[in-house]
Amino acid sequence: MTPDLIYGATGIAVFGIGLVGALCAQDRLRRVLALKLCSVGAGFLLLVGAWREPPSTPDPVPHALVITGIVVMVSATAVALALIRRLQTLEAEDEH
C-alpha cells in the first residue's frame, strides 16, 4: 500500500465520476464542474506517474505539465462560465 497505488485509484475514480457528470448532469454549471473533476483526476494520474520512493526526488516534467494543465483549465472554465452567463441572460430576456 504505497501512496502511488492509493492516489492512482483515487485519480481513476475521480476521472470516472467527472466523466459521468459531464455527460449526465442537467445543470450547465454542474457540467463545467464535472469537466474540472476530470482534469483533477488526470492530474492525479500524471503525478502518480512522477512519484518515486521518498529518498529519490520525483520527476519534474509531469509536474510542469500538470501546472500547465491547471492554467489552461482555468482559461477554459472562464470562457465556459462567460458563455453560461450570456446564455442565461438571453433566456431570461426571452421569458419577459
Partner: protein, 279 residues
C-alpha cells in the same frame, strides 16, 4: 501493523472521492460550489503527499481559488438575471428537458468502460521507470535556477509555457467579447469589518505574490501561483469598491495584457534555447 501515514492516505483518498460524488449530487448550487472548493483544497493536500508541492500550490491558488471566484460570480449573475437574488437556496436554475433513463444508463455504462480501461492501463504501466529526472538533473546548471520544476516550466519547456500565456490571453479576449453589453449584477454589500480586513490584507497579498514569484527560483512557488495572488488583489479591490471599472480604463487593460505576452515572447526564446533537446 499498518503505518499511520497509509491510514491517512486512505482516509484522504476516500474523502476526495466522496467530495467528488457530492459535487455531482448536491441540489443546492451554492453548496455545490463550496464543496467543489473543498474538493480542490483536499486534492491539493493529496498532491503534497505525492511530493508535488508546486502543483499543490498551483491547484490551491489557480484551480481552486480563481476558479471558485469565477464560479461564485457566475452564480451571483445567474441569481440576478433570474430575479432570485438574496434567496438562501437556489435550486437548479436551468430546467432542461428530462433525459430518458436508458440514455443515462448507456452513458454511465460507457463511462464505466472508459474508466475500466484507464484502470487497466494504470495497473499495466511499468512501475516507476526512469523518466526525465536524469536529463533534467544533467541540464540544471544551464538553467540558471535551482528548483527543477521552475527550470522545466520556464527554461526547458519555455515555448510550452509561452503558449499557455497565449491561451490565457485568448481566454481573456473571448470573455471580454462574450460579456460585451451584458448587464452587470450589483456587487454585494460587504460591511465595515470586511473593508478593514481588505485594507489590511491588500499589501500583504501583494508581498506574498511577489515572494512566491521570487522564491520559485529555488523552492516551490512560481510565476503562475504568484499571479493568482495578484489576481486576488484585483478581486479585493473590486469588492471593496476601491476601484470601480470605468470604460476608459478598458483600453489600458488590453494594452497591459498584450504587452505582458509580448514581454514573455521576448524573454522566453532566449531561455528556451538553453534547454536540452528531447524535453
Amino acid at each position: 501493523m499498518i503505518a499511520p501515514l497509509v491510514i491517512f492516505d486512505l482516509l484522504l483518498a476516500l474523502t476526495i472521492v466522496a467530495l467528488a460524488v457530492a459535487v455531482l449530487c448536491l441540489r443546492d448550487l451554492f453548496a455545490m460550489i463550496v464543496v467543489f472548493i473543498i474538493f480542490g483544497l483536499v486534492s491539493a493536500l493529496a498532491w503534497v503527499r505525492l511530493s508535488a508541492p508546486d502543483v499543490a500550490l498551483a491547484e490551491a491558488a489557480i484551480g481552486t481559488g480563481v476558479t471558485g471566484a469565477l464560479l461564485l460570480k457566475t452564480l451571483h449573475h445567474l441569481r440576478y438575471v433570474t430575479g432570485r437574488l438574496g434567496q438562501n437556496a437556489a435550486r437548479g436554475l436551468t430546467a432542461m428537458a428530462p433525459v430518458p433513463v436508458a440514455v443515462l444508463l448507456a452513458n454511465a455504462a460507457f463511462c464505466g468502460l472508459i474508466t475500466l480501461g484507464l484502470a487497466v492501463a494504470f495497473l499495466g504501466a511499468p512501475a516507476a521507470g526512469p523518466g526525465f529526472e536524469g536529463l533534467v538533473a544533467q541540464a540544471m546548471p544551464q538553467s540558471g535556477v535551482e528548483h527543477s520544476v521552475t527550470a522545466v516550466l520556464l527554461n526547458f519547456r519555455a515555448y510550452d509555457t509561452l503558449m499557455e500565456v497565449v491561451v490565457l490571453l485568448a481566454a481573456v479576449i473571448a470573455v471580454w467579447q462574450i460579456e460585451r453589453g451584458l448587464s452587470e449584477a450589483p456587487a454585494p454589500v460587504m460591511g465595515v469589518v470586511w473593508q478593514g480586513f481588505a485594507r489590511l490584507a491588500l499589501p500583504v497579498i501583494v508581498v506574498v505574490g511577489t515572494y512566491l514569484l521570487w522564491v520559485g527560483a529555488e523552492a516551490p512557488g512560481g510565476a503562475f501561483q504568484g499571479g493568482a495572488m495578484l489576481a486576488a488583489v484585483g478581486l479585493l479591490l473590486l469588492l471593496t469598491r476601491a476601484y470601480v471599472p470605468q470604460p476608459g480604463h478598458r483600453g489600458l487593460a488590453r494594452g497591459a495584457f498584450v504587452l505582458g505576452t509580448a514581454a514573455f515572447c521576448a524573454g522566453g526564446p532566449s531561455g528556451g534555447q538553453r534547454g536540452p533537446r528531447g524535453l
